[in-house]
Each structure stands twice: as C-alpha cells, then as structure tokens.
Amino acid sequence: MAGVLALVPLANIGWDAATGGLGVEPVEALVRRTGWWALTLLVVTLAVTPVRRVTGWNRLIQIRRPVGVISFVYALSHFVIYVAIKQWFALSFIIEDILERPFITAGFITLCLLTPLAATSTRKSIRRLGGKKWRRLHWLIYPAALLGVLHYFWLVKADTRPPLVYAAIVIALLMMRLDLPAPFARKAARSDSAEPAPSRS
C-alpha cells in the first residue's frame, strides 16, 4: 500500500513532465511540486496517529513510517534540484542563501531534521535504538513540520492563504497530541501502544 502511495506523486509529476504539464519553466515547477509533496506527506504522517485515534482504525499506523520516508525523499529531491539546477552547483550562492535568506535557512534545517528520522526508519534501527529512544528522536518531526510550513510561508510573495492553511493543520495536529509530549516518554509509551514496537519483539 505504501509502495502505491509512493508512486502517486511520482506518477503525477512524471505524467505532467511527459505531457508538458510542467509548463514553460519545468525547473521551477519541479522545485515547487517536490516541495509541495514533501510538506503534504509530512502533514499526512503527522495526521496518522490522531486520525487513528479518532476512527479507531489501528491498521493505519502501518503507513506512518513509509509515508514519512517518502516525504523525506521528496524533500531531498527538492533540495537536490535547487542545488543542481536552480543554483547550478554555485556553492557560494548556496551558502549565502542558507545563511542569509530566512526561508531557505528554514527549509534547510527542516531537511537536516528529517535526515536522521529517515535514516532510522528501518525496523532494524527501531530495534537497535529501542522504542523509547526512537520515539524521542522521532518527536523531531514536529519542529520539522513547523519549520517546513515556515519555509513555505516565508517564500510566498503575496497570497499567504495556502501556507496558512498548512500552518493551521500542523498546529491543530500538534494540539491534539499535546497531552502526550513524546520526549517525556512515560505517557507516550502508554498512548502509543499501537505503534509497532520491534524493540520488544
């Protein structure tokens, strides 16, 4: 199922690339599309637990890690396209952007925060870290999502409505989970019992 999900954005982008749907500035379109999918899938990842809790559909938890990983793959492609094509590997421009342009700083930090999460997304890593540590590390998805939304908000020139919608969703999802701040793992362990916990398997 997750495999199919992974193909949806790729099919969408691939189809448009093949049929001219990316417009006359395909590079810009690719940067935007990959960024949009990364952020959207990140929000979907965050939504899994609240939706599971409200609907009682526990099997939903199975898609959480795969969707998170796919989100990271799009975030990484977003960055690679920016570095390789938009900036043409001009290191001085890239560094200047990351250091001096707040929206790019925010985007870069988002990617940095997501990297260890993607790297520890295998069952093996969960086992090695132990469920408690793993969950504490993966709490980073919240600051990552907030910074991702900020990245989007700061890049918009005039129409801030779409990024504000994302901000509202992320904040709402965050509020829904405030009763279990994951770094204080005692409560989290209890509420997240439906999480696959290979550390105990």
């Binding site: 590079v27 001009a90 700061w154 005039a158």
Partner: protein
C-alpha cells in the same frame, strides 16, 4: 493595425513563425527601412549584449508560447499559469483611459481614438522579473514620451502615476485581497520621458492577450517587471511620488525605483543572477538589465542601495 476590433480569433496560419519573424527583421534591417525604430529598439545591440555574447550567451527571443503562459498578473491569480487560464475572455475593448492631474488635455479618452495619432514601433527588450527569471520580448508599442508630449503636462507634473483596471467580475484574482487593489505604479517624469519607456499594445505583432495586460501596458526594460503595469485605465500627472502597489505591500522588499540591480539583493533571494525562461543554467544579471548606457545618467548621484 495593431488595435483590431473583433479579431479575437486569429487562425494560427496567420501567426508569423518565429524563424520567419526573425528573418523579416533582418531583412528590414538590411533594407534600412524603419532603421530608426529598430535602432531605438536595439538595446540588444548595446554593450550588455556584447558582454553576454562574449560569455557565449545570447539574447534570443523567448517563444510566444512562453511569453503567454508564464505570467505574473495577480488580477487573474497568483500562479504563473493562472493568467493564461483565466484571462481568455479579457480582451480590453472597448477601453477608455482617464487622463488627469497636472495636464492640459485632461480627459477620458477612448483608447483607439487616443492611439490613432501614433504609429506603433517595434522594440525587442529584455524583461527581468524581480523573482530572478527573465525573457526577451518583441513588443509593439508607442514611446510613452510621445503620448505625454501629446497630452501636454504642466510644469507641476513631476511624476506619472498609472492604474490598472479594477473589475473583480472580469478579474477573478481581485476577489481576494491578495494585493491592495487596484494595482498602481508610477515613474518619475524623466523616467517616463525616456525614449526606452514604452506603452505596449502588442507582442510578436499580435494584440496583447488577456494574460499580458491588454489593451495597453507599460514596459520599462531597465526596471523589474512589476513596474510595467498592465491594462492601464488611468494616467495621472502628479507632483509627489505616487504610491506603488508592491511598495505598499512590502516596502522593505520593493522600492519605488525598482531598477534592475545585481548588487542589491531582494531580502529573500539574490539578484546577481537570473534564469532565462527556457534555459537551465542561470546567467549573470547586468546592471540596469543591460540598459545602463542609456539610463544610468538618470540616477547619477543617487544611492541605489537606499533608493532600490
């Protein structure tokens, strides 16, 4: 010829292919016919062009397809494709332009009447967007100074202010307050009187399509694209620097002058380079978009970091 009534459906067979168009320009150039017009429109033959040539970069015309499908015209939506999608029925006629302020011939003009005393000229200009992309566009238009001279401003007129149509019925982007509608822009009188400044009515010898700001728009090639206000309904001759839309929106990001300047970055991105639409590799942005020879003297002694 360029203002055609009821000519919304031009068969594609009548559209000059680019290659033919370019050959014709060369042909005209060789003949020496209309040499003045072409010479005036040859900012591409200026020093900046030579500079870009030496870097192995050319200033080829951007295809019509790109010019008409990648637009910032927030009156029809904020995505680049929105204007092409939503401005299909927006043709700009009938159209009248209100001329007011410190000017002898203040009146509301029927546009075709106003334009009937002028002959459109051909101008190939680089267009540099503040977002760091660019195009090369063959405009047809009338030098703004010819129109200004005809209208006879008084000595109190220090600036010219322009206003875009405000009509949320036709312009769906105006139904949301994304910008402070109506869109307003302005030039200092010497900028408005500069021979490069154009009131455009056509592109590639076709009347402007809805997405390009018909029936008449400004083109100021040494300034960022947002200065080139579209679908003008009002021209005011004023004493004080007029308010301008993007400056109202974000004064720290968009100044009144908005001259293309690779040295002064937008707070959120570098202005040192640009990507020509249709190309992959970014190219350096020249000062005043390559028109420095013609316009730099307008700003001598001004601190362009402060008056960005």
């Amino acid at each position: 010829m360029l203002i055609r009534r009821g000519s919304d459906h031009i068969p594609s067979s009548e559209i000059t292919p680019e290659a033919v168009y370019l050959n014709r320009r060369k042909f005209i150039g060789r003949l020496g016919a209309g040499a003045a017009a072409i010479a005036a429109g040859v900012p591409l033959g200026s020093q900046a062009h030579a500079a870009s040539q030496s870097r192995g970069q050319s200033d080829e015309l951007t295809p019509y397809e790109a010019i008409t499908n990648y637009n910032n015209f927030y009156e029809f939506g904020t995505d680049k494709e929105d204007p092409a999608r939503h401005a299909g029925n927006f043709t700009g006629h009938p159209w009248s332009v209100d001329v007011n302020g410190h000017v002898s011939k203040a009146a509301t003009y029927d546009l075709p009447d106003l334009l009937s005393s002028f002959t459109p000229e051909e101008r190939v200009y680089r267009l540099r967007c503040v977002e760091a992309w660019s195009m090369v566009i063959p405009w047809q238009g009338i030098p703004l100074r010819d129109v200004i001279n005809y209208l006879e401003p008084t000595s109190s007129a220090k600036y010219v202010a322009f206003q875009t149509l405000h009509d949320p019925e036709q312009m769906r982007g105006q139904r949301a307050r994304v910008l402070d509608w109506p869109y307003v822009e302005g030039l200092r009188m010497d900028e408005a009187m500069h021979p490069l400044t154009l009131l455009a009515v056509g592109i590639y010898e076709r009347p402007l399509l809805g997405q390009n700001g018909p029936p008449i728009r400004l083109v100021v090639p040494w300034k960022y694209g947002f200065k080139s206000v579209k679908s003008i309904v009002r021209i005011s001759f004023v004493e004080e620097e007029p308010p301008t839309t993007w400056n109202i929106m974000a004064p720290q990001e968009y100044g009144f002058y908005a001259n293309v300047n690779p040295e002064v970055d937008h707070p959120r991105w570098s202005q040192a380079r640009e990507r020509r639409v249709g190309e992959l590799r970014p190219r350096p942005t020249p000062m005043f978009n390559g028109y420095g020879d013609q316009v730099a003297s307008l700003y001598s002694g001004m601190d362009l970091t402060r008056y960005y």
